[in-house]
Symmetry: C2
Subunit: 284 residues, 2 copies
């Protein structure tokens, strides 16, 4: 919060999933911690972009001097909730060199030959990077559960496997931020309707989107279970209201800034003799 002037209350506190959280009671149109309108939100996003970019560069710089820390942002949501917009408008303000992006779609036959975490492990961010997962290992307990793609026992096993996996990432220097972008059923209908109305958006629509939409309540229940089983001290979940795209972007940007500020980053000290190198350079 120290460098961002536009929040009235820290949204990280307000959006964090705590004991007793009920997704069914969460407001998808609210803007917790922010009392401005869309225009103010967009101005704040631009202000935050400068802050985020500098912090990211420091994270990246410190990794060059041996710092092992990194960030993993997990994005989960129903279709159209705005994962792509987060990537474009929040991560888009950061140097692409420092971002590792991975989208997890329906597993390939090759991926299905392995444990569900196999393909995930391959995409975890390296030191100094901000990793972004567009969908993730959580699909294996979301669509996996709703569509019964694995046995109930296997689904149960996965929550524990996920917690262990994330604990290992945290232990090796990863700050994990798990975000569910929360939209209402009506808002999704409006967004899918727009995609079908615009030929330049047709490619973003898939008939399967309607199939999944028909299971809305099953997905809501599966998300509720995810929160109950996989909120851990080092891998919190945040439910971000996403009916207003500008708010969701601003909130996720803040979660990243917040995580970076907690690292007490600075420009790393040179590990060579600066004066000596200045002499060598002058003579070259």
């Amino acid at each position: 919060m120290s460098r961002e002037s536009y929040w009235i209350t820290d949204p990280a506190d307000l959006l964090r999933v705590r004991d007793g959280f009920e997704l069914s009671k969460a407001d998808s149109r609210a803007s917790p911690g922010f009392d401005g309108d869309k225009q103010a939100g967009q101005a704040a996003l631009a202000e935050g972009a400068v802050i985020l970019a500098e912090l990211q560069e420091q994270l990246f710089a410190m990794s060059r001097m041996g710092d092992e820390r990194r960030i993993l942002l997990v994005l989960q949501a129903m279709d159209t909730a705005g994962k792509g917009g987060i990537v474009k408008h929040v991560m888009g303000s950061v140097d692409p060199q420092g971002v590792h992006f991975a989208a997890f779609k329906k597993p390939t036959p090759d991926e299905l030959q392995h444990d569900f975490l196999w393909r995930i492990h391959q995409q975890v961010p390296g030191a100094g990077m901000i990793g972004v997962f567009d969908r993730s290992h959580y699909e294996d307990v979301l669509i996996g559960r709703v569509r019964a793609l694995a046995s109930p026992e296997e689904i149960e096993r996965r929550y524990a496997a996920i917690n262990e996996f994330e604990a290992e990432l945290a232990a090796t220097g990863t700050t994990i931020i798990k975000v569910m972008l929360h939209i209402s059923r009506d808002e999704q209908k409006a967004r899918l309707t727009e995609r079908l109305a615009r030929p330049d958006k047709h490619w973003k629509f898939n008939p399967g989107d309607v199939d999944e939409r028909l299971r809305w309540n099953d997905y809501a229940a599966a998300y509720q279970l995810v929160f109950e089983r996989t909120v851990t001290p080092n891998a919190p979940w945040f439910v971000v209201p996403a009916d207003r795209k500008w708010y969701a972007r601003l909130a996720v940007q803040h979660l990243l800034i917040d995580a970076l500020e907690a690292m007490n980053l600075d420009w790393p000290k040179a590990d060579y003799d600066v004066a000596e190198q200045q002499r060598r350079l002058a003579a070259s």
Copy 2:
């Protein structure tokens, strides 16, 4: 050029390496095809960013409908020439989802166990992506030659291996754009001096940068050989004057726009019945 209003002559024509090209005679401070100043160049870059972003989204969209085409931008240069700035300021305006970035540093022991193209193959862009290589397989005939990291016979073999590799990429839908950012020895000295003068830039400096600088002429000769051996019809080289950062960024942005425009992209047609999906959605 059709959508960019700010060029007086197509820089792709002016910067392309042709028979008889001599690096030693290339002006690193020129701004071929552009007659404005830095401010005009920055305004043009912002204008081009909008064009590039739309074309990239179309490339990405078409891949979702089975189009196999993709772009590979190879960036090579002496230290401080501005590769990082290209990534940040040119690629930074594009949706991160559609960019695959790979930096090739000193090979690891694991990488050295394999043929020099092994690690490169793993990073080639998928369909619909713009791949960006910050350094590349060309290091193996640049520092490889200058530092005699392989036998002369092996270095010779590599040019042909590179040409075959790139021909294969081209045959499978990759538009290859190879860029050498060309700075002068004096400009490099000024930039390295600045890095040493600013504590927030110390992490970007490495004493080895001065070692390589002392081999300036050997590198120039190695680049000249690269141009003579690896300019092929489907994998051209462009030498981009880079003493003025704003010009180099604008020129590389143009090379990408130019490649995308040559693809005659458009929004893909829906592969489903739009009216039927509209009815299903309305009922959902």
